[in-house]
């Protein structure tokens, strides 16, 4: 079976879409918590799973500080 240009375009769009979803997969998780590597048995496994799945809350630098530094650097 030969693919038409139209088919290839849609496959391309699909691949790009999957890449975008994959690279932003962390945003798919709404309930983010702290990493908590401490906490008894199995805590290390859980923390690594959290790192892998994106369920880790990362604090943000204050926007004002960020803007000021971006102007400096």
């Amino acid at each position: 079976m030969k693919l038409s240009k139209n088919n290839m375009m849609w496959i391309g769009i699909g691949v790009v879409g999957l890449i975008i979803v994959y690279s932003n997969r962390a945003s798919l998780f709404v309930n983010k918590g702290t990493l908590s590597a401490d906490g008894g048995d199995g805590a290390i496994d859980k923390a690594i799973s959290k790192l892998k799945s994106g369920q880790v809350k990362v604090n943000e630098m204050p926007e004002q500080v960020k803007q000021q530094l971006n102007n400096e650097v």
């Binding site: 690279s23 932003n24 997969r25 962390a26 702290t34 990493l35 908590s36 590597a37 401490d38 290390i44 496994d45 923390a47 690594i48 790192l51 892998k52 799945s53 994106g54 880790v56 809350k57 990362v58 604090n59 943000e60 630098m61 204050p62 500080v65 960020k66 530094l69 971006n70 400096e72 650097v73």
Partner: protein, 261 residues
């Protein structure tokens, strides 16, 4: 005794097999052939007979120099005059680790890891200035030394602003450390502000930082060295408890079998 090996900036483990005829304290140093100050490990061990030492290298240079020498005699002894030990082989092996940088789903954490690795690899050549990550989310202020508000030079190699999130690094301190030691310290500071539930909790930052460091496959010995350097001169109860906790965490971490190659 020096041995050059092409590593092509790839993650790997170096397996260095050494033979001695009697118990001999040997120093093993691995550094970038382009820059001797870019060290990937600098450790010692007393070897009696034949033994293989493994050097985990999630980061590697294009060409690495494996330098082994008798601690009692020092470096630069000509090969033909070195009789206290023999390097039998230096081999490249896959790096076993729990996580590849790409496995971490959260782009914000990936961004810091990438930034920290580049910074630690190059810090010796960087001028004191402020550096930012590619996504302009994180900033490291590199100074020759870190000073307190009164202008007094502080002992600490790095610190993070509790209100700003800016990480400050002492170039004088960092250039003395191996690359993995620098990373262990940066991941600790990152954890304080960006990952911790309690920003001032040292132990929480120790464990969160170590989790990232160990998961990426960095050497255990360098983690111990980084913390011991930091604790040196401040033998407090807190630091003793921190050391015990770090020691337990590293041991527990190594008992896990989940690895990728």
């Amino acid at each position: 005794m020096k041995y050059k090996i092409t590593t092509n900036y790839k993650p790997l483990t170096l397996a260095v097999t050494i033979k001695t005829t009697k118990p001999t304290k040997l120093q093993l140093c691995v550094y970038d052939a382009m820059n001797k100050m870019r060290r990937f490990t600098d450790r010692y061990k007393t070897i009696d007979g034949q033994e293989t030492l493994y050097v985990r290298m999630p980061l590697s240079p294009e060409v690495a120099v494996v330098d082994v020498y008798n601690s009692a005699l020092g470096q630069n002894i000509p090969k033909d005059k070195e009789t206290s030990f023999e390097i039998l082989s230096v081999k490249k092996a896959p790096l076993e680790r729990k996580l590849d940088e790409g496995d971490i789903a959260n782009g914000k954490i990936r961004s810091f890891i990438d930034f920290a690795q580049k910074f630690c690899f190059n810090v010796g050549e960087l001028a004191p200035n402020t550096y930012k990550s590619d996504d302009a989310r994180y900033f490291i202020r590199l100074s020759q030394q870190i000073k307190d508000e009164s202008g007094k030079v502080m002992n600490t190699p790095a610190r993070v602003g509790r209100k700003t999130g800016i990480i400050e690094v002492s170039k004088d301190a960092f250039t003395k450390f191996t690359i993995p030691m620098r990373l262990a310290i940066l991941f600790h500071e990152f954890s304080h502000y960006y990952l911790n539930e309690q920003i001032n909790d040292e132990m929480e930052a120790d464990l969160n930082g170590l989790l990232i460091y160990l998961s990426l496959g960095y050497p255990r010995i360098e983690a111990y060295q980084a913390f011991l350097e930091t604790f040196q001169g401040t033998p407090t109860k807190l630091n003793k408890s921190r050391y015990d906790l770090i020691n337990k965490f590293i041991n527990d971490f190594d008992k896990m079998n989940m690895v990728i190659k």
